[in-house]
C-alpha cells in the first residue's frame, strides 16, 4: 500500500506557513524576508503539485487518494485527485509562483506586506484544497477560506473608497451565497447520509453501478447505508442552492455584479489571481457537482415523459446563464474606460463561455462531444488563466507608470513601454482567439462541442460575443498603443527588468501552449480530463477512494 503524502500535505503546508508569519513579524522586520518566504513556499507548493500531476497522469495513471488521519472514506476526509484536479492543481501552482514574483516587484513599496502574503498563502492553500478535495463539506470549508482571503485582499487598499465598497459588497453577497451552499450540504447529507464525493457518486447511480464495482458498493453501503426520504426533490433543491453559491464564485449571470467592482479595486497581482484563478473554482465545483456526483446515469438523469430529465434542465439553465453572461460581459466591456474594468468584464465574458462548455453534456449528446466540451473547458481555463494574469500584470505596469487607470488619460503610454505593449497585444489576441495562440483552440473546441450537441444558437452566441469583445480589446490598443507618445511621461515611464521578465515568461508559456495545441497537445489533454466524464473514469474515481479498504481487517 502506498501513502501519497505529497498529496495531503500541500494545503496544510501553505496554511502552516501562513500561521507562522505573525511569529516571524516579532523577530524579523525586513521586507525582503517576507517576499522570499512567500516565494519559497509557493515554489515548494509548485513542486508538490507537479509531483501530484506526474503521479496521476504518468506514474499511477489513475486517480490517487489520501486519507487524513488514516480514516477510511466516508468516515474521514479524503483527498481524491483525478486528471482534472491534477491539471488545475498544477495550473494553480505555476500561476501563483508568477503572481508572487510579480508581487515582489509591484508591492515593493507597500506597508504591511507580511499580512498581504499571509492572505495570499491562504488563498493558494484554499484553491489547491478545492481542486484536490474529495469531500463536499471540506469543499465548503475551503470555499470559505478562499472567500475570506479574497475579501481581505480586495480590501487591502484601505484608504480607497471604491476598494472598501467592493470588498463589502463581495463579502455580504458572498456570505449569503456560501450559507446557501451549507444548506445544500445539509439537504445532501439528509438525503444520502454521506458527504463524501465518491460515495455520493455511487449512491446517486445505485441500481446499475453495482455490476461495475460490486465490492465498493457493498463497502459503502455497509458504512453509510442507502438513501433516505425522497431523493429527487431534495437533490433538486440541493443543486439549486449549490449552484447559487457556485455561480456567485464564478461570477456568472445573476450573480456577476460584484466582479466588476471587486477585481479592479484589488492590488494588481491580486486582480490577476482573482480573475485568473479564483473564479475558476466556481466552474470547477460546478463540474464536480454535475459531472462526478450528479453525472450521467445518476438518479436525476432518468428522463421523464417529455424526454427531458432534471439534469438536462439544470444543464440547459447553465448553458443559458453562460450565454447571457458572455453577452453581458462583452457588451458592457466596450463602454468602459477603466482598463482594469475592461479586463474584469472580459472575465465575465470568458466565464460565460466556460459555463456554456459545461452545459453541453445533456441527455443524448454523444460521449465524444462531451469529452471535447470538457477538454475545451479545461483548456479555456488554462488559457484564460495565463492570459488574464498576463493582461492584468501588463496593465499594472501601465498604471504604475501613469498613475491612472483611465485609458483615455493614458493615451499613447504604450509607445513608451514597448515590451509591455507587445505583451499586451499578444495577450489580447490570445484571449480573443486568434489562431497561433492557445485561446483559439479552446474556443474552437467549445464551438465544436456546441455544434456537435445541436445547440447552434449558442454556438452563434459564442461567435457573437467574441466579435463584440474584439471591439473592447481594440479600444485598449487604439487608446494606448496607436496614439503618439504623451510628452509629460517621456523619461518617467520606464520598463522595469523584473516585471518584463515575468511577462516574457508568461508570453513564452502562452506561445508554448499554442504550439503544443498545434502539435497534438489537445489529444493529450483530452486523454487526461476525459475520464471525468466517462463511466470508466468514474469507476476509477470511486475505486481510488475505495481501494483503501483493501486493508486486512
Amino acid at each position: 500500500m502506498m501513502i501519497y503524502t505529497p498529496l495531503g500535505i500541500v494545503p496544510l503546508m501553505l496554511t502552516f506557513a501562513a500561521f507562522a508569519i505573525p511569529l516571524l513579524t516579532l523577530i524579523i522586520k525586513k521586507k525582503w524576508f517576507y517576499h522570499l518566504y512567500a516565494l519559497l513556499f509557493s515554489v515548494v507548493a509548485l513542486c508538490y503539485t507537479a509531483e501530484n500531476f506526474w503521479l496521476v497522469v504518468y506514474g499511477v495513471k489513475q486517480p490517487i487518494s489520501y486519507l487524513f488521519g488514516g480514516w477510511i472514506a466516508p468516515l474521514g476526509i479524503v483527498y481524491t485527485v483525478d486528471g482534472l484536479g491534477a491539471v488545475l492543481g498544477l495550473l494553480i501552482g505555476i500561476d501563483m509562483v508568477l503572481i508572487v514574483l510579480y508581487s515582489i516587484w509591484y508591492m515593493r513599496g507597500e506597508e504591511g506586506i507580511e499580512w498581504y502574503y499571509t492572505l495570499l498563502l491562504l488563498l493558494e492553500s484554499a484553491m489547491i484544497g478545492i481542486v484536490y478535495t474529495g469531500d463536499i463539506f471540506n469543499l465548503f470549508v475551503m470555499i470559505e477560506l478562499l472567500a475570506i482571503s479574497a475579501y481581505g485582499l480586495v480590501g487591502f487598499y484601505r484608504h480607497k473608497r471604491e476598494a472598501i465598497e467592493a470588498a463589502i459588497k463581495y463579502a455580504l453577497i458572498g456570505a449569503t451565497a456560501t450559507t446557501m451552499f451549507f444548506l445544500s450540504i445539509v439537504y445532501i447529507y439528509g438525503t444520502y447520509g454521506t458527504v463524501n464525493m465518491a460515495d455520493l457518486a455511487l449512491k446517486t447511480r445505485l441500481p446499475w453501478i453495482t455490476q461495475y464495482i460490486p465490492q465498493a458498493t457493498m463497502y459503502f453501503a455497509h458504512l453509510s447505508g442507502t438513501g433516505y426520504g425522497n431523493p429527487i426533490v431534495a437533490t433538486a433543491i440541493a443543486i439549486a442552492l449549490a449552484l447559487w453559491a457556485f455561480t456567485f464564485k464564478a461570477a456568472v449571470f445573476p450573480n456577476y455584479f460584484w466582479l466588476p467592482d471587486a477585481h479592479p479595486e484589488a492590488p494588481t497581482p491580486v486582480s490577476a489571481a482573482l480573475s485568473g484563478l479564483v473564479v475558476k473554482m466556481g466552474a470547477y465545483a460546478t463540474i464536480r457537482l454535475l459531472y462526478t456526483i450528479f453525472g450521467v446515469g445518476s438518479l436525476i438523469d432518468a428522463s421523464a415523459a417529455g424526454g427531458w430529465s432534471l439534469r438536462d434542465v439544470i444543464l440547459f439553465i447553465i448553458l443559458l446563464l453562460g450565454a447571457i453572461s458572455a453577452m453581458i460581459g462583452s457588451l458592457v466591456m466596450i463602454i468602459q474606460n477603466d482598463i482594469k474594468r475592461i479586463l474584469a468584464y472580459s472575465t465575465i465574458d470568458h466565464l460565460g463561455v466556460i459555463f456554456m462548455g459545461i452545459g453541453v453534456a445533456m441527455h443524448g449528446v454523444s460521449q465524444a462531444v462531451v469529452a471535447i466540451a470538457l477538454t475545451g473547458v479545461v483548456l479555456h481555463m488554462i488559457n484564460h488563466s495565463f492570459g488574464k494574469t498576463m493582461l492584468f500584470m501588463a496593465s499594472g505596469i501601465y498604471i504604475k507608470n501613469s498613475g491612472t487607470r483611465d485609458i483615455t488619460r493614458m493615451r499613447g503610454i504604450g509607445r513608451l513601454l514597448p515590451v509591455t505593449s507587445l505583451v499586451m497585444v499578444v495577450g489580447l489576441l490570445h484571449l480573443l482567439g486568434v489562431p497561433p495562440f492557445g485561446g483559439f483552440f479552446s474556443k474552437l473546441l467549445i464551438y465544436n462541442a456546441l455544434i456537435g450537441a445541436g445547440q447552434v444558437a449558442f454556438a452563434l452566441i459564442l461567435i457573437l460575443s467574441t466579435a463584440i469583445s474584439m471591439l473592447g480589446y481594440m479600444r485598449i490598443i487604439v487608446n494606448l498603443i496607436l496614439p503618439p507618445r504623451p510628452p509629460e511621461l517621456i523619461g518617467k515611464a520606464r520598463e522595469s527588468i523584473p516585471a518584463t521578465t515575468i511577462l516574457s515568461v508568461l508570453t513564452a508559456i502562452i506561445i508554448i501552449i499554442g504550439i503544443y495545441c498545434l502539435t497534438g497537445g489537445i489529444n493529450t489533454l483530452q486523454a487526461i480530463v476525459e475520464p471525468s466524464t466517462t463511466l470508466k473514469g468514474l469507476v476509477q474515481y470511486i475505486d481510488s477512494t475505495f481501494s483503501t479498504y483493501m486493508l486486512p481487517k
Partner: protein, 129 residues
C-alpha cells in the same frame, strides 16, 4: 399525524420563515449593519436546520446527546448508546459552520467601520448619491 412529526413541522416552518426574513433583511434593508445582522440570522437558521436533520426520537426512552457517558464498556452499553444518541455528524459540521460564520461577521464588521470612515455613512443609498 404523529406528534413528534408535528413538532418537526412547526420548527421547520418557523425556520423557513426566519430564513425568508433574513433574506429580506440582506437584500432590502439599506443599512450595512442591518445587512450584517441579517446574515448572522441567516447562517444561524441554516445551522439550526442542520441540527434538526440530525435529530431522532428513539423507540424507547428519550434521545441522548452524542457523548458516551458510561464509565464501563461492553456490548450492551455500546448498543444502548448507539440506539439512543442523536446524529453527531451534523453537529460537528455546524460547529465548523458557526466558527466560519463568526469569522465572516468579524471581518465584515471591521470593513463596515472602515467604510464609515471613508464615506461618512453606512447607508448604501446615501453613499451612492
Amino acid at each position: 399525524m404523529n406528534l413528534s412529526l408535528m413538532t418537526a413541522y412547526v420548527v421547520v416552518i418557523s425556520l423557513y420563515v426566519n430564513l425568508g426574513i433574513a433574506l429580506y433583511g440582506v437584500f432590502a434593508r439599506p443599512s450595512l449593519v442591518k445587512k450584517l445582522l441579517a446574515i448572522t440570522i441567516l447562517s444561524d437558521t441554516a445551522n439550526a436546520f442542520a441540527v434538526l436533520v440530525g435529530y431522532r426520537w428513539p423507540a424507547s426512552g428519550t434521545p441522548k446527546p452524542p457523548v458516551y457517558t458510561n464509565t464501563t464498556f461492553n456490548n450492551q452499553t455500546l448498543h444502548y448508546y448507539v440506539s439512543h444518541a442523536v446524529d453527531p455528524l451534523p453537529q460537528a459540521l455546524v460547529l465548523t459552520a458557526i466558527v466560519i460564520g463568526l469569522a465572516v461577521t468579524v471581518f465584515i464588521a471591521f470593513i463596515i467601520i472602515q467604510y464609515y470612515r471613508l464615506h461618512g455613512t453606512v447607508d448604501v443609498r446615501k453613499a451612492r448619491r
